[in-house]
Amino acid sequence: MTHHETLTESMFIKVFFALIALTTLTFLQPYFMHQDLSNTIAIQMFIAVIKTFLIGAYYMHLKYEQPLFRWVVLIAVITLTIFFVITSFDAIYRNDINDFFT
């Protein structure tokens, strides 16, 4: 194995507590931060993304692996994003009148 730096027990535990804190936050957020729907979703997804970063980088060791592994994940995320964005063009504008070219 070519790991010079690797995940230590103490780092692992710190990340664990960070995840506990963030998870607690997701449950409390709707109560003490009264937000409309889009803000709630934005905050929840933001927290989810941070958690994913922590899990991916530390628990799943991406921080300590060769760059190729990070590229694999990045490409997956980009591909999914593309699917979401382009499909949304249909979802959002589906029932609009087709008068582009008149």
């Binding site: 690797t6 027990e9 729907l37 927290i47 060769q66 699917f83």
Partner: protein, 221 residues
């Protein structure tokens, strides 16, 4: 046939040595392959989330209404249970790498225990819905508004798919323990254990996105 103990070295024109990677003994390759597999799992669940988002956009009010009826206590307990289970899995791997084999096995067993608790809680959640007559194609559900029907259709499908992955995860963990006992996984060669831990982290990651979308959006309304 098995030359895995001999490393092939070849030389270039300047006389520098180069090692030829032996596919029978390539842990980096195994890990890379498993990451590509996780990739496919990401795309699989990503497709499901695409469907969810599509209908959430279309039937927002219905979805929020239905979300508010889900049991936040059970959902919340499960969230923490899953998080703690990943702690044990990851810590077990760290223990194993440090040579503490029995500590590692205990941690894996704890992970299995917590996973079973997760599945049990999920079972009770489902039973609660089913007892109220809310399940795919039920008379009561079919009588509700479109968005509510779809919400619960997606609820059972996505938590069900997630649950199937948990069951597979449990089977994999049992297998890892068996391989440890058999000596196939050793403190020098443990890529299978690492890969199963990665799998478990992915299962957790799916839940990280699943529960806010299903449970939190309707909360406190």
């Amino acid at each position: 046939m098995d030359h895995s103990s001999e490393i092939e070295i070849i030389y270039d024109k300047q006389g520098n040595p180069h090692e030829v990677i032996d596919f029978n003994d390539d842990d980096e390759g195994s890990k890379l392959g498993f990451w590509f597999f996780l990739f496919t799992e990401l795309m699989l669940f990503g497709g499901m989330f695409l469907v969810f988002t599509f209908y959430f956009y279309r039937y927002t009010d219905n979805f929020l209404e239905a979300s508010a009826t889900l049991n936040i206590v059970l959902g919340g307990i499960n969230t923490f249970i899953l998080l703690i289970s990943t702690y044990f899995m990851g810590m077990g791997l760290i223990n194993f790498k440090n040579g503490e084999v029995s500590k590692a096995k205990v941690k894996i067993v704890l992970t299995i225990v917590f996973s079973i608790i997760f599945l049990t809680v999920k079972y009770f959640e489902w039973m609660a819905e089913i007892h109220h007559g809310i399940y795919p194609d039920s008379e009561i559900l079919n009588a509700k508004e479109h968005g509510i029907i779809l919400f619960f259709g997606l609820y059972f499908t996505m938590t069900g798919l997630h649950g199937v992955h948990i069951i597979i995860g449990i089977a994999l963990m049992v297998w890892v323990i068996l391989l440890m006992n058999r000596g196939t996984i050793t403190t020098k060669k443990y890529v299978i254990f690492e890969n199963v831990a990665l799998y478990w982290d992915l299962v957790h990651m799916v839940w990280v996105f699943l529960f806010p979308l299903f449970y939190i959006t309707g909360l406190g309304r």
